[in-house]
């Protein structure tokens, strides 16, 4: 009886895992097929696995420079992840410890999470154009930072609130100035929260598409947008195997990060969602 229900549960799990991840699995499989095989054999079985599609992507550096895309994604996502931490950390401390900004600043920032950010996309485009930030990694990183701001502030405020005040008082007794207190005591203690903010922010930033599509053209095109170029129509040949491979490459970094750090994602999602 017990055994039977357990087996059923495992079956349900397998079915859910398979269905939810079906597109990922299918794309991965397709990326390992030659173009000839794709036309002949669209199934989930690879007859002659090949890494040719991946090689083709990196060979076609002249066509689409995948390294540049990846580099742009990395730099922009790094800016978009680290900047919110820098900007939010001191504010989060003031909010958590002194209740400052509880009326406006905190809710305003956190509620950005619920705003469709496309409402800012157009003026940002115009502003970026006059500032020369269009198609720059810095420009993309800045807006990714805005995207990550709410979750960063929320998690940091909650993290700091959960830290024992004693430690900060001890540091004050020990003569720590405010910067020392924040940097030598509070910041290191926030590490779990920071890791969470970083992972979640990095995944969000890496996966962002709309701003990448609107605000970049060439120099700062992130990999998500770059991958979609491989599907672009209007001439040339689209090679589905190569397209599958570029999707896999584009999706891989956050997925790998997420799989290793899934615990952090779980915790932060809860904080981010429940308290937001």
């Amino acid at each position: 009886m017990k055994r039977a229900s357990d087996i059923l549960r495992i079956l349900v799990f397998l079915a859910a895992a398979l269905i939810l991840n079906f597109p990922v699995i299918a794309t991965l499989v397709t990326s390992l097929k030659s173009n000839a095989e794709i036309a002949r054999n669209p199934g989930l079985w690879v007859e002659a696995p090949t890494l040719g599609n991946y090689a083709a992507i990196f060979d076609a550096a002249g066509r689409f420079d995948v390294w540049t895309f990846l580099n742009s994604s990395l730099v922009a996502a790094a800016i978009g992840t680290i900047l919110p931490i820098i900007v939010c950390f001191p504010a989060a401390w003031v909010m958590a410890r002194r209740g400052v900004g509880a009326a406006i600043l905190f809710p305003a920032t956190v509620n950005l999470r619920t705003l469709p950010l496309i409402v800012f996309a157009i003026p940002l485009y115009i502003m970026y154009q006059s500032l020369g930030l269009l198609d720059t990694r810095l420009g993309l990183g800045l807006i990714l930072a805005v995207v990550n701001l709410p979750i960063a502030l929320l998690i940091l405020v909650n993290t700091i609130r959960d830290l024992p005040v004693d430690l900060e008082e001890a540091a004050r007794m020990d003569g720590a100035s405010l910067p020392t207190l924040l940097l030598r005591i509070v910041l290191p203690l926030c590490r779990p929260g920071l890791v969470t903010v970083f992972i979640l922010g990095f995944i969000t930033a890496w996966n962002e598409f709309l701003f990448g599509l609107m605000l970049t053209t060439r120099d700062a095109v992130p990999i998500t947008v770059g991958a979609s170029f491989f599907f672009a129509s209007g001439g040339g040949g689209v090679e589905w195997g190569v397209a599958a491979a570029i999707i896999v490459i584009a999706a891989a970094p956050p997925v790998v990060l997420g799989l290793f750090m899934y615990r952090h994602i779980g915790g932060s999602m809860t904080t981010g969602a429940v308290k937001g």
Partner: protein, 358 residues
Amino acid sequence: MTGIVLDGIGKTFDGTRIFDDLSLSIRSGELIVFVGPSGCGKSTLLRLIAGLETATEGRIEIDGRDVTQSEPHDRGLSMVFQSYALYPHMTVQQNIAFALHTERLPRDEISARVAEAARILKIEPYLDRKPKALSGGQRQRVAIGRAIVREPKAFLFDEPLSNLDAALRADTRVEIAELHKRLGATMLYVTHDQVEAMTLADRIVVLKAGRIMQIGTPHDLYTAPANTFVAQFIGSPRMNLLPCEQMDSTRIRLPGGSIEIPSLPCRPAQIGIRPEDLNLVAPTEGRLRGQVVLTEYLGADRCVHIDLGEVRVTLRDAGSSPKIARDGEEVGLAFDPRRAHYFDAAGDAINVISVEAA
């Protein structure tokens, strides 16, 4: 050495009045214990002295210097927190040295001082460990080490033993007492545990709801509590308080009997008798009569709980006492009225000295 003076301290917190015109003078080199039930303001008082809270009114002087508005660090005090508040991301060595680094002392002096503190507290083997890897007792020593190393004008202890188990607590209590003797430093110690207060203190400050109930040596407090609160707070089991009614100038009526009393300046409303001052006698012999409810055997001692009509009293005598007190047995209680404490209707002690003089 240092004296600390609190003068007319007032503190309002979120609209609630916590202290009102509280004054206190602490002598240099003294170990003074703030004791009281939770919520009495003893910790807040310590934090006011530490500078972690700012007084709404009044002055705080340390060593004759007005520090009312000074930052915690500028007051030259060290504090040991209830949670120890060790920095979890630093090693023991770094924890102890942190304050010295913020003072920008030369490196070799820092290591010398840390080594000295570690030696005193016998924590040398753990210097490279993180707090996580230490036992409760070891953490407690590190916390003290962190306080010592700054060579402060005074040490502040905020319930430093409450996170330790009973056995360790007794040991550490002794160590703190030794440390006080060795360093001769001023120490302010907060606890809710009257045993700690009695064993450690040079003087005890008993607080209740933000007011000082009594200041005095443990002996003073025990033998001459200023009011029923102190009387019941200090001593274990706590003092028996019996309502009384004056019959004539020399006799009062108590539940379960009446006694002859020494001359008192005014009429007592309550009489307090410590459990060890009560003696078990034959029902006919005692001043009071009651019925045994329960006997607790504690080894060296035993406690006998006796109902005197409405009121229950506790008696303590030697565990080896031959007098048998079975449950439900009718017994008599004897005591020396001169060792009893007399309180007026407000609960304040009626001058004890005149009792002794009589």
